[in-house]
C-alpha cells in the first residue's frame, strides 16, 4: 500500500534530520481511533527544532522533497500517491501534542500519530464545523481518557470552548 511508503518517507525525513519530529493528525490521525470518515489529505504536524521560534520555515522540508522527486502543489506535496500537508507546530498545544504522540503500526512500518486526547483538544481549539462533527464521533467511539482530556483542556484554557460545544450539541 502506498500509505506505508508515505510513512517510510516521513520516517526517513525525520531520521535524516529534516525535522525533529512529526505526528499524523487531522482526518487520518482521527482514522486511527474512530470509524472511517472522508478526508483527502494527510496532515502531518512537524516540530522543526527544539525551541520553535515565531518564524517557522518549511523550506528544509520542501527542499528535501524536491531533491527526492516529490513536487509541491501549492501547500500539498504528493508523496507516494498521497497528498501530504505539512503543518508546523503553531502553538503550545500542538507542540505538546507532538511531544506526546505515540508510535502506531501500519502494515510493516511504524507511524507517529497524535493521541486521541490531543486530537480532541486540537479539534476544540480549532472549532471548525468539521472538527465539531469529528469530536462528536470521537466522544462516542474512541477509547480516550476523559481525565487526561480534562487536564489538557484546563492547561490550555479550552474548557469553556468545550462546554460551549457540548451545549450547542444538546441545543441548550
Amino acid at each position: 500500500m502506498t500509505m506505508e511508503r508515505t510513512i517510510q518517507v516521513l520516517n526517513r525525513m525525520r531520521d535524516e534530520g529534516t525535522f525533529k519530529s512529526y505526528a499524523i493528525g487531522g482526518g487520518i490521525g482521527v482514522l486511527f481511533y474512530i470509524e472511517p470518515l472522508t478526508t483527502f489529505d494527510l496532515d502531518v504536524f512537524v516540530l522543526l527544532a527544539d525551541d520553535p521560534g515565531p518564524l517557522v520555515s518549511l523550506s528544509p522540508i520542501y527542499s528535501w522533497l524536491q531533491q527526492h522527486g516529490y513536487t509541491p502543489r501549492g501547500e500539498q506535496v504528493v508523496i507516494e500517491g498521497i497528498p501530504v500537508h505539512f503543518i508546523p507546530a503553531y502553538n503550545p498545544l500542538v507542540v505538546e501534542a507532538l511531544q506526546e504522540a505515540v508510535e502506531k503500526p501500519y502494515a510493516n512500518v511504524t507511524a507517529r500519530v497524535l493521541t486521541p486526547e490531543y486530537l480532541m483538544a486540537i479539534m476544540i481549539q480549532t472549532g471548525r464545523s468539521t472538527d465539531r462533527e469529528r469530536l462528536l464521533r470521537f466522544l462516542e467511539e474512541a477509547e480516550a481518557s476523559s481525565e487526561l482530556l480534562d487536564r489538557i483542556l484546563t492547561k490550555h484554557g479550552l474548557k469553556t470552548a468545550f462546554e460551549n460545544m457540548r451545549r450547542s450539541w444538546h441545543g441548550d
Partner: protein, 66 residues
C-alpha cells in the same frame, strides 16, 4: 436514551440509532489498513458526487495499490 413504549415510531428510531451506533463502534475497531481502504472508496464516492469545479480543487483519490 429513554423511549416511549407506546410509540412504535420512537421505538424503531431508537433501535435504528442504537444499531448504527454499534456499527460505528465496530468500524472504529477495524484495522487501520482496512479503514484506509474504506477511505479510498469514500473519496471515490465523494468526488463522483461532487466533482471538482475549479482547477484549485486539489481533492484526489489516493493511489492505493493492492
Amino acid at each position: 436514551m429513554a423511549t416511549d413504549s407506546s410509540n412504535p415510531s420512537a421505538q424503531i428510531i431508537s433501535r435504528l440509532q442504537s444499531s448504527k451506533r454499534e456499527h460505528r463502534i465496530r468500524m472504529a475497531h477495524l484495522p487501520i489498513e482496512e479503514k484506509v481502504r474504506i477511505l479510498v472508496q469514500l473519496q471515490t464516492i465523494a468526488l463522483q458526487a461532487r466533482p471538482p469545479k475549479t482547477p484549485n480543487d486539489r481533492r484526489m483519490v489516493w493511489q492505493i495499490r493492492p
